[in-house]
């Protein structure tokens, strides 16, 4: 059934259909409507979950960790300062191999105080061991929540589903809400293998001396590597059941014979499709790749696509201070070891921080700049900075 849903409620429906059993959350703009709707669903009996009100996001994640350890499918949602307050426990969730799913609405970090979108909140959780999915439409948001549980529960790592503040969270558009029977068929009940069980007493999170710690970290990395194929398989199965697919980790858009490839993520990828179409009509050989997953990083796909391009332009709505755009730096890094003659120059653009609008004009400006220059003159090319 198709309904007009805002991005935040697309998240709530994703959690409802995934039959989550425990929700622990703390409200924060622009996420609040996600958990507001879920608490309503619980109150009406539509969702048979235990809804736990907590006093902070740190406690929300702590409650999810405990519930997941007890074998329950858990969910939470947050944004910006809420996510960064959870930081310690994000490590705990991944290190504990707990398949928790969380939605994060990308909101810029203060100061200056902002409620608008950029990706620094989630990207600064890069090294916690969470998988990260960046979405470009409300449909992809709902579908990704369902996919996220299936992926997480196979590899035993937590997954963060990410959407832009306002541009998706508060935007209404048609969303197909799948039938519960189909979701049940796609996503079986959770059978967590290491759950708390009085009949099989275990110790969790205890002191781990140096002779074991390295092996546990090795296994987290191996699970991330394994995730690559699982993501692709889950996306294919999803297509068979629901008729929609998102290309797994990366989606290519008109990259066939493209000399210039634009790299974008989140809603910027959506607007970029329009600009790519316009430029193609004008005879410019341009294509786009949408970075759906940031962790695990789609190294193989990115390398295979970009080594065929003459130039690469990356749009980052984020920054790692003292280095540059985060997607751009990772892309440069994975291209480093390919043959010298195949290596395209990578132009790194930073735009739209703090929710500054990224319009088709912004994207055209970026692509025109890349077409004009042979090589990037600076590590970061800033778009729209007022001096």
């Amino acid at each position: 059934m198709k309904k007009i849903l805002m991005g935040n409620h697309a998240v709530s429906y994703g959690a409802l259909l995934s039959r989550v059993e425990v929700i622990a959350a703390y409200p924060i703009t622009p996420q609040t409507q996600v958990v507001e709707e879920l608490s309503e669903m619980c109150a009406q009996g539509k969702l048979k979950a235990r809804y736990i009100n907590v006093e902070s996001e740190h406690s929300a994640m702590a409650a999810c960790i405990a519930a997941e350890q007890a074998g329950a499918r858990t969910f939470t949602a947050t944004s910006a300062h809420g996510l960064t307050l959870m930081h310690e426990l994000l490590h705990w969730a991944a290190g504990g191999r707990l398949p928790i799913v969380m939605a994060n609405i990308n909101r810029s970090m203060a100061p200056g105080w902002s409620i608008w979108t950029d990706q620094n909140d989630s990207l600064s959780q890069r090294d916690t061991g969470w998988l990260q999915i960046y979405c470009e439409s409300n449909q992809e948001v709902l579908d990704s929540i369902i996919q996220a549980y299936k992926i997480a529960e196979q590899i035993l790592l937590p997954v963060m589903v990410i959407l832009d503040a306002f541009v998706l969270s508060h935007t209404f558009e048609p969303v197909d809400i799948p039938k519960q029977e189909l979701v049940d068929q796609f996503l079986p009940e959770l059978d967590y293998p290491y759950k708390l069980d009085v009949k099989n007493p275990c110790s969790f999170g205890s002191l781990l001396p140096p002779e074991y710690y390295l092996e546990l970290r090795y296994k987290v990395q191996k699970a991330m590597e394994e995730a690559h194929d699982v993501i692709i398989k889950v996306d294919k199965e999803f297509q068979q059941v629901f008729g929609r697919s998102y290309g797994g980790l990366v989606e290519e858009y008109r990259t066939e014979d493209a000399e210039l490839v634009l790299v974008a993520s989140s809603t910027v990828a959506s607007t970029s499709r329009m600009v790519v179409d316009q430029l193609r009509d004008e005879g410019v050989k341009v294509g786009m790749i949408k970075m759906r997953f940031f962790r695990p990083f789609p190294t193989k796909e990115v390398t295979n696509i970009l080594k065929q391009a003459k130039k690469v332009a990356v749009i980052d709505r984020n920054i790692s201070y003292g280095q540059g755009g985060i997607f751009c730096e990772e892309i440069r890094s994975v291209l480093y070891n390919i043959d010298r003659q195949e290596k395209p120059p990578v132009f790194g653009y930073i735009a739209g921080l703090g929710g500054r609008d990224i319009t088709p004009t912004t994207i055209r400006e970026i692509l025109s700049h890349t077409l004009k220059e042979d090589k990037p003159k600076e590590n970061i090319i800033w778009i729209g900075v007022k001096h």
Binding site: I4, I115, W116, F166, F172, P174, S270, T271, G355
Partner: protein, 183 residues
């Protein structure tokens, strides 16, 4: 693609109006997108909401800078903000006002103006109070008639689904405005 911008004041229901508009048109098989101005809202302060309409999936994800039409829930906004900013020439300006369209002679030169006494219609149908009539459904009736973008029945159906209370009085307000709008 058709882009619509709705101006109101916090509490008048501009955001809900943008969604009802989207739902009405979606019912006729088109693609829609609606969203509030990205930001914080305060009761009484100017509020903006947007709706996009197209025959194909809408990929554009940024604010609306050059609307085809604007809807004004509160005529006092005409003095307070630039309601026609970026508005395309010959676009409709649909105003909640008991005056004739010719009264807005500065607008009439460049745009098409329609007026409807949405406040009066709201009060007649007991929607809101005299100080704060709920005009968002009535003005959509006027929008529907003036622009001819969708059918009155789709709008009535959308209002029944989307309005949290007093559905039938809201539907009546839509019909009244549909018949009373002047343009």
């Amino acid at each position: 693609m058709i882009e619509v911008r709705i101006h109101g004041r916090g509490g008048q229901g501009a955001v809900v109006a943008s969604k009802i508009l989207a739902v009405s048109i979606f019912k006729e098989g088109k693609y829609v997108q609606s969203f509030p101005n990205f930001g914080v809202e305060r009761r009484g302060a100017p509020v903006t909401a947007y709706t996009r309409i197209d025959d194909k999936a809408i990929l554009l994800r940024c604010k609306i800078y050059n609307p085809d039409h604007v809807v004004i829930l509160d005529p006092s906004l005409i003095e307070a903000i630039n309601i026609t900013e970026g508005l395309k020439e010959k676009g409709w300006v649909i105003i909640n006002s008991d005056k004739e369209p010719s009264h807005f002679n500065s607008l009439i030169k460049k745009y098409r103006v329609a007026t409807v006494d949405a406040s009066g219609i709201a009060l007649k149908n007991s929607l809101g109070s005299k100080a704060n009539p709920i005009v968002n459904t009535a003005i959509l009736g006027a929008f529907c008639k003036t622009t001819g973008l969708f059918r009155l029945t789709s709008l009535m159906e959308a209002v029944r689904e989307e309005v949290p209370s007093a559905q039938e009085r809201n539907v009546q307000a839509v019909e009244d405005a549909y018949h009373q709008v002047k343009y």
